[in-house]
């Protein structure tokens, strides 16, 4: 990159500027030195959130010019680790240090990290949608001509980046006018604007990209590597890791498993290390003999899923597994009347229903525990009592007037039943731990006594003890003859709890596993099913 026009930031960073992006200068370092010099030290990083330990002591080092993959299942702690590296979250224990020309620095916040030459490309696109591509590239470091913005330079420099990444867009276009895949490419190419890059983290960068753009990205990563920049690459797609990375760090349940050179491992090895685990018995619950059909879904199609069919019977646990973006939650939201259904039919107890709102679904006996309890499951600033009752006030009131004794009584009753740890039912839900918040959501559903319960990621952000208690509640529910759907991106959980399982990939059902079949399946086989790739003409390729 040219650096003549960075006039504001140049002064601030010139003292520590590493000429990383310039291969000529780097060559003088010599290949050997570069190989050995450590860029990033992660030392015994622990991160604790209220009620959950997300990271339990992670240590590793990354050399200059190394492309390191970070793999692990959902909930393994990859995102938290990235946030700790980038200074977005401060580790509870341990530290992260980066080598800035021989001095060890510790990023205290996101801006600090940027000044130290650390850049991250997060999963959710973080750009200013209403501004132009050029403005986004130079956000916070606009090229100046005296005291006014030098638009000509900005556009011409932006055009250079666009050409380099072969994006074929106009730097004057606003971000919102671009397709999502192109927005993702803009955020990736935005990194190259910076002039003192030392470390770049890509978090699932290819989730939104088509093949051709993936190649562009890989070319860029190779270029970064050659100029001595280290890269941390997070992806579910193990083929990509084999292709682009030097080494791979495996994480599991917030712990560090091991780091290997990519040439020493294969896909099967990685998967077995990612999923291997010792706490299988918490999934060991008593199953029931399924009774009559409660719910049947035929060829359901919506914005993010197509032709989804399945059924759920009394006393049965139906698992729904898929990788991020497979469309599992969207199917559930559609059944619950939140999102629009384009075509297909839903039957509750043999009768076809048209659920237009969550209220309709509730009245038909469906209970829905949503994926993100903080966003739409709980009224966070309100009391445990209100949250427990808010799904079923109509059941304890007459002419819209609530029976307050029953309201308190139910809150107390379910506090005992599902073991919510709170001093009083007047406590604000926001002050409870993740596990207890989830139990309030479950209490809320149980108050309504629905026949069909959909649990979308019931154990996200929930510690092991509470997990076990939640599974006990589910065990109890099927004993009462309820039908339970468990949506999970955590494979051992989905496999360990389900009587039958639906596997989804890219919005379609890629596998429907009956009881016997499921028992014989290895986790690797299910993961393969979940990575089924569909092309536009619906040809199936594994």
């Amino acid at each position: 990159m040219q650096s003549c026009f960075y006039d504001l930031n140049a002064e601030r960073t010139s003292g520590t500027r590493l000429h990383s992006a310039n291969p000529h200068i780097l060559k003088t370092l010599g290949e050997k030195d570069m190989e050995q010099e450590v860029l990033l030290k992660i030392e015994n990083v622990v991160k604790t959130y209220p009620g959950v330990q997300a990271l339990k002591g992670i240590s590793t080092t990354i050399r200059k010019g190394e492309v390191r993959a970070l793999v692990g299942e959902n909930g393994a702690g990859k995102s938290t680790l990235i946030k700790c590296i980038m200074g977005v979250e401060i580790p509870t224990e341990g530290k992260v240090e980066i080598n800035v020309d021989g001095k060890w620095e510790c990023p205290k916040n996101a801006i600090d990290a940027k000044n130290l030459g650390m850049h991250a490309n997060y999963q959710n696109v973080n750009i200013a949608g209403n501004l132009s591509i050029a403005e986004n590239y130079f956000l916070g470091r606009l090229p100046m001509k005296g005291r006014i913005v030098d638009w000509n330079t900005m556009y011409s420099e932006s055009q250079k980046i666009i050409d380099k990444f072969q994006l074929n867009v106009n730097p004057r276009d606003t971000i919102v006018s671009l397709p999502v895949a192109m927005q993702a490419m803009i955020t990736i190419s935005k990194i190259s604007v910076n002039d003192n890059i030392r470390l770049v983290i890509f978090d699932e960068p290819t989730a939104l990209l088509e093949n051709e753009k993936v190649e562009t990205l890989f070319r860029y990563i190779k270029e970064l590597k050659e100029s001595g920049v280290s890269v941390i690459y997070v992806s579910h797609r193990l083929e990509e890791i084999m292709e682009i990375c030097d080494s791979v760090t495996i994480m599991k349940d917030g712990t560090y498993v091991e780091t290997k050179d990519v040439k020493d491992v294969d896909k099967d090895y990685l998967i077995s290390k990612m999923v291997g685990r010792s706490m299988v018995d918490i999934y060991n619950i008593e199953h029931q003999k399924p009774g009559e059909e409660l719910l049947r879904v035929e060829n359901l199609t919506g914005e993010k899923f197509r032709n989804v069919s399945f059924s759920l019977r009394k006393g049965e646990i139906l698992g729904f597994f898929g990788l991020v973006g497979a469309g599992r939650s969207e199917v559930m939201r559609a059944i619950f009347g939140v999102d629009r259904i384009e075509s297909g039919k839903v039957f509750v107890k043999g009768e076809e229903v048209h659920l237009k709102s969550p209220k309709d679904a509730m009245l038909k006996g469906i209970g829905f525990l949503t994926e993100d309890r903080r966003k739409d499951g709980l009224a966070l600033q309100q009391s445990v009592k209100l949250n427990t009752n808010m799904y079923s006030y109509d059941m304890i009131s007459k002419y819209g007037i609530i029976d307050l004794a029953k309201e308190t009584g139910r809150a107390e009753e379910y506090k005992e039943k599902v073991l919510i740890k709170t001093p009083t039912v007047e406590q604000t839900v926001n002050n409870l731990s993740g596990g207890n918040q989830q139990k309030v959501v479950i209490a809320k559903l149980l108050c309504r006594d629905p026949d069909i319960l959909i649990f979308d990621e019931p154990t996200v952000g929930v510690d092991v003890g509470a997990k076990d208690e939640i599974f006990k509640i589910i065990e109890n529910l099927i004993k009462q003859g309820k039908g339970v759907i468990i949506v999970s991106s955590y494979l051992p959980e989905a496999m360990g709890l389900s009587d039958r399982m639906i596997v989804m990939s890219e919005g379609r059902v890629s596998g429907s596993l009956e009881n016997e079949e499921l028992k014989q399946m290895e986790e690797e086989d299910v993961l393969k099913l979940a990575s089924t790739i569909y092309y536009e003409d619906e040809q199936e390729v594994v």
Binding site: K359, A361, K375, L378, N389, G400
Partner: protein, 321 residues
């Protein structure tokens, strides 16, 4: 252990907005009684109550809207419009007192429904929506009244506002009755609970089977009803309708709600707190005058009190996190 529990309970009690409000009001009351001659007189105290009543009713309505996460800055203009309708009906159109009152309320409820429509159907932020209707209504008031005062109000009707029952002004009695009803609605009705859930987030309300549409329409319409009643009382009190009636009431109403513990982010607020907030605002104004502080300076002081209250509220929230 038990002792500790009591200590934390006491601390929690003192942290409650209502308790600290009562303490501040009590303090001002004592200072004013000792420091000035004219404060502790029947005349002045009834006057304070009368001043409180109309603002008090509007503030309660404002609190309802704020709990849902909205805000209503059209309230002063709605009250002004309602006042004008009552006066026009009695003085110009020759209608009876009951009909004029119904008219005053109907106009205010329609304004509320209009606000709700903008907020729900067109997703206009409540601040902008009610700013729009405030401007429209202020304009309409001038068009209808031709910019002049409408007098010729029914004698019995205006007499109600100046009369008292057992030393308590009628206006204050209406205020108390409304406060009690609104308090009970929040405590006992599903409608009240829904306001808090909606204020905690639209998604939360939607996924818990609460109709956002119904809740928003009924909240703004109910607020309109209360503004209508306030308009009727204002017409009786000033014995006429003036084009500027109700101006700047929104500031006091929002301030009273926030002082009483409502959060502009939605999801909290209480009727009792708002009643105390109203009393505090009017009291500060009255006591300031008693001490001989000019009206211009008083406005500065009232503003400072509001800002301090909001800052304390924010600090408390940060402490909780």
């Amino acid at each position: 252990m038990n002792n500790n529990q009591q200590k934390t309970n006491l601390k929690a009690l003192l942290m409650k907005t209502e308790v600290s409000m009562v303490a501040i009001i009590g303090l001002i009351f004592i200072l004013a009684s000792v420091g000035t001659e004219n404060f502790l007189t029947a005349y002045n105290l009834t006057n304070i109550l009368k001043q409180c009543a109309i603002i008090g009713i509007i503030s309660i309505a404002e609190t309802y809207v704020i709990i849902t996460g909205g805000i209503d800055i059209s309230c002063g203009a709605v009250v002004g419009m309602s006042t004008l309708m009552v006066a026009m009906a009695q003085a110009k159109w020759g209608l009876g007192v009951p009909v004029s009152m119904v008219l005053g309320i109907v106009v205010a409820v329609i304004a509320g429904l209009f606000n709700a429509m903008l907020v729900y159907e067109f997703k206009v932020p409540a601040f902008v929506a009610t700013l729009g209707s405030q401007t429209i209504l202020r304009g309409l008031i001038k068009v209808i009244s031709n910019g002049g005062t409408v007098s010729g109000i029914d004698k019995g009707f205006s007499g109600f506002a100046s009369a008292s029952f057992l030393f308590v002004p009628n206006l204050a009695i209406v205020w108390f009755v409304i406060a009690v009803i609104c308090f009970l609605l929040l405590k006992y009705a599903i409608f009240g609970r829904n306001l808090f859930v909606l204020g905690s987030g639209e998604e939360v309300a939607k996924l818990n089977g609460i109709s956002i549409r119904k809740t928003i329409y009924s909240t703004y319409a109910f607020a309109g009803l209360l503004y209508g009643i306030a308009g009727i009382l204002l017409c009786a009190r000033i014995n006429s309708a003036i084009p500027t009636a109700g101006e700047a009431y929104e500031t006091n109403a929002i301030a009273a709600s926030v002082l009483g513990g409502a959060s502009l982010a939605g999801g909290c607020g209480s009727v009792f707190g708002t009643v105390l907030g109203t009393i505090l605002i009017i009291l500060i104004d009255n006591v300031g005058t008693q001490f001989g502080i000019g009206a211009f300076v008083m406005q500065v002081i009232t503003g400072c009190v509001i800002v301090i209250a909001i800052v304390i509220d924010q600090l408390k929230k940060r402490g909780k996190r």
